[in-house]
């Protein structure tokens, strides 16, 4: 996984350089690589599926205007995560202002409970339940960090407010909580 992440980084670095030089296809390559990450950032912020899709697209339009100031693929990923979060907040602020509280829309929106049946494997369901039992901030952080390639961790973790040691991001409260919970769960720790 680590080597895959490193190769992807090199690939992204090349795409970024060519995109900054104005090569149209290079930017498309970046969009293909990083749209899944942005989807999970906006969904982790609590946007419904329709709003999340719009926020992802708007983030890409914003990138087009900021491309000249982004120099490394780490910086690119961190910039995109931050921009997608900011865009999500903007959408939420606006929804609170315009949508009356009692008109909950009925757009499909897989909630954690609904997602559970999608996960057939017993062991994965145990992990899912422990992840869902974490505080909201930890769920959000782990969801986004899990989507990020290893070499990007430092900068993205910093953008997300994850603790940082002298040699890189540390395990932090959220992963520690999750690992402790899993260790304490006999269904998980049995070989």
């Amino acid at each position: 996984m680590t080597s895959t992440g490193t190769e992807r980084q090199a690939h992204l670095a090349g795409l970024l350089e060519r995109a900054r030089a104005g090569e149209a296809g290079a930017l498309d390559g970046i969009v293909r690589e990083l749209t899944p990450l942005l989807w999970h950032v906006t969904r982790a912020q609590g946007l419904d599926t329709a709003d999340a899709a719009d926020a992802v697209q708007t983030t890409w339009l914003e990138l087009l205007r900021a491309l000249h100031e982004i120099r490394s693929p780490h910086a690119l990923t961190a910039w995109l995560v931050t921009a997608a979060k900011r865009e999500s907040w903007r959408v939420q602020r606006q929804r609170r202002q315009t949508v009356p509280a009692d008109t909950d829309d009925d757009r499909p929106d897989p909630r954690p409970e609904a997602a559970e049946h999608l996960i057939a494997d017993e062991r994965r369901r145990i992990l899912w339940n422990h992840v869902q039992a974490l505080p909201a901030r930890c769920r959000e952080l782990l969801r986004v960090v899990a989507m990020v390639d290893r070499p990007d961790y430092s900068q993205v973790a910093a953008a997300l407010g994850m603790p940082h040691g002298s040699i890189g991001p540390t395990r932090g409260r959220c992963l520690t909580k999750l690992r402790d919970a899993l260790l304490a769960d006999p269904r998980w720790s049995k070989p």
Binding site: R65, P110, I119
Partner: protein, 154 residues
């Protein structure tokens, strides 16, 4: 388990599993990459991005098969109403607020249509095919749009 330790192999393995869970439980829409690419395809560095606002349910008039979309930028609001005209085609009626006689381009995968709003800010594309579309509004520059919208399904 210490919080201040650097991430180890078990942490990375756990994160991989969490990634896998989210990809299963909440996959991104199949057309999201396509929509993003379409919105970027014009490579137009607009001064502003007009964001899609919450869609108004037009329940009372649903028999007319109309849909209204509102895009909002700092300096301009674009509202369009889509009406089915039969044969699977749509009519687009739009308003700019504040009203201004600006040139408006409707970008489609198949090409673009251009029109100019009247003094009241009204414009129309009388017949379009359903599919992805993006609006570009031109003001100061003939080639660089003043405002762009995201790509939306029309």
């Amino acid at each position: 388990m210490s919080e201040s330790q650097p991430l180890d192999a078990a942490d990375f393995d756990l994160l991989d599993q969490i990634r896998d869970l989210h990809e299963t439980a909440d996959p991104m829409p199949a057309d999201l990459v396509e929509r993003s690419l379409f919105a970027l395809a014009s490579r137009q560095l607009a001064a502003e991005i007009a964001r899609l606002q919450a869609q108004q349910p037009v329940a009372a008039r649903s028999t007319e098969h109309t849909r209204t979309l509102t895009f909002e930028a700092h300096s301009l609001t674009i509202m369009i109403t889509l009406t089915e005209t039969g044969g699977g085609r749509l009519r687009v009626d739009g308003w700019l607020a504040p009203a201004a006689p600006l040139r408006i381009e409707l970008r489609r995968a198949t090409g673009s249509q251009t029109t100019t709003a009247d003094q009241a800010g009204r414009f129309a594309f009388p017949e379009i095919e359903p599919g992805l579309g993006q609006l570009l509004v031109f003001r100061d520059h003939p080639h660089e749009p003043w405002i762009v919208t995201p790509a939306v399904a029309l």
